[in-house]
């Protein structure tokens, strides 16, 4: 699985993403791509937009990173069907770039929240969640000040009716309740994908939950799903 992790000035989960894919998952062809590059390279399977505070979150989260030189190629790649996952700040960049709808605003509580949360898996037939089963609850940490997902009613309806919500904040039993919503996101949305199913953004950090010693290995399922997806393509 040829994976490229984009590094913006202010990215700080790039090494975590690299470690999760290269060391834990065991995919040797995993490299960083500096944001000044104009190409992500050839035959890339997966692009990861990592977490952090690109450009210090100036103006709006993800707003300036979206115009980094490399993003032109990432957008081309995504529009041609390439697989992109944006985590935390990466999700914010995807929304700013228009690859995903909606936007992430300040948490309802105004606090930066760093804690383990539970997520209900909404579907197992996406390339990002095939190693999970629908309804399965995973424990993955969040760490953000601006993770409050909002979108117009029309966009939300489109997301819901086309099953594009992949993860929702829930309690340990999988009940999607206001109490389980850490940041005020509409419909408890923690992760969504685009209409073609190749671009996915989530606020929680699966790369920080890939080994038991870190409190949870549930995040690894996301990367395992992608690994299985590309292995299948090779053998198909």
């Amino acid at each position: 699985m040829r994976t490229r992790v984009i590094v913006f000035p202010g990215s700080n989960c790039d090494h975590d993403a690299m470690y999760a894919v290269k060391n834990v998952l065991g995919e040797p062809d995993t490299e960083f791509v500096w944001h000044k590059e104009e190409s992500i390279g050839k035959d890339v399977d997966l692009v990861i937009l990592p977490g952090g505070f690109s450009y210090g979150d100036y103006l709006r989260t993800g707003a300036i990173a979206r115009f980094s030189p490399v993003m032109k190629d990432v957008i081309r790649y995504a529009n041609e069907g390439g697989t992109v996952i944006g985590i935390c700040n990466g999700f914010q960049v995807l929304c700013e770039s228009g690859l995903l709808p909606g936007v992430l605003i300040r948490n309802e509580s105004l606090k930066f929240i760093c804690k383990e949360v539970y997520l209900k898996t909404e579907r197992e037939d996406s390339r990002f969640t095939s190693a999970l089963s629908a309804g399965q609850v995973v424990q993955i940490p969040i760490a953000h000040g601006e993770g409050n997902y909002i979108a117009t009613d029309e966009v939300l309806q489109d997301l819901e009716s086309n099953n594009r919500v992949i993860f929702r904040y829930s309690d340990r039993e999988g009940n999607v309740t206001p109490e389980a919503n850490p940041n005020g996101s509409r419909n408890n949305i923690a992760g969504i994908m685009n209409e073609h199913g190749n671009v996915f953004g989530m606020m929680p950090h699966p790369e920080r939950a890939c080994e038991k010693i870190l409190g949870s290995a549930d995040g690894l399922h996301v990367f395992k799903s992608l690994q299985a997806h590309f292995a299948e393509l090779v053998h198909a």
Binding site: E96, I105, N148, I150
Partner: protein, 102 residues
């Protein structure tokens, strides 16, 4: 000619503004009971080299639409095109000896 172009950016009315809400509560606790629905936006000053104030305004509007405001959650307007930067009239008296007074 250089023009100072000011853009005001506000969140759309339907979008929650948690920082505005927190500030409104603080104002309320200071006794400003007549203040309601406080919203916090942004004021951006661009210095633009253009042939005319109209041209400067158009460039400012284009910058606003492309990057400075996010149309999903914000509206903006160019509120001023001037030859000099805005002079702010209000001067808050400095606190004496660094002591904070109630």
């Amino acid at each position: 000619m250089k023009y100072f172009v000011y853009l005001a950016i506000e969140r759309k009315e339907a979008i929650l503004d948690p920082s505005g809400k927190a500030t409104e509560h603080a104002l309320g606790s200071l006794g400003f009971s007549e203040i309601e629905n406080t919203r916090i936006g942004k004021l951006i000053r661009l210095t633009i080299d253009a042939d005319s104030p109209e041209k400067a305004r158009t460039i400012g509007e284009s910058a606003g639409a492309k990057l400075l405001a996010n149309p999903i959650m914000e509206d903006f307007s160019v509120i001023e095109v001037a030859l000099e930067p805005r002079v702010h009239a209000t001067r808050i008296p400095a606190k004496k000896n660094g002591k904070v007074t109630a």
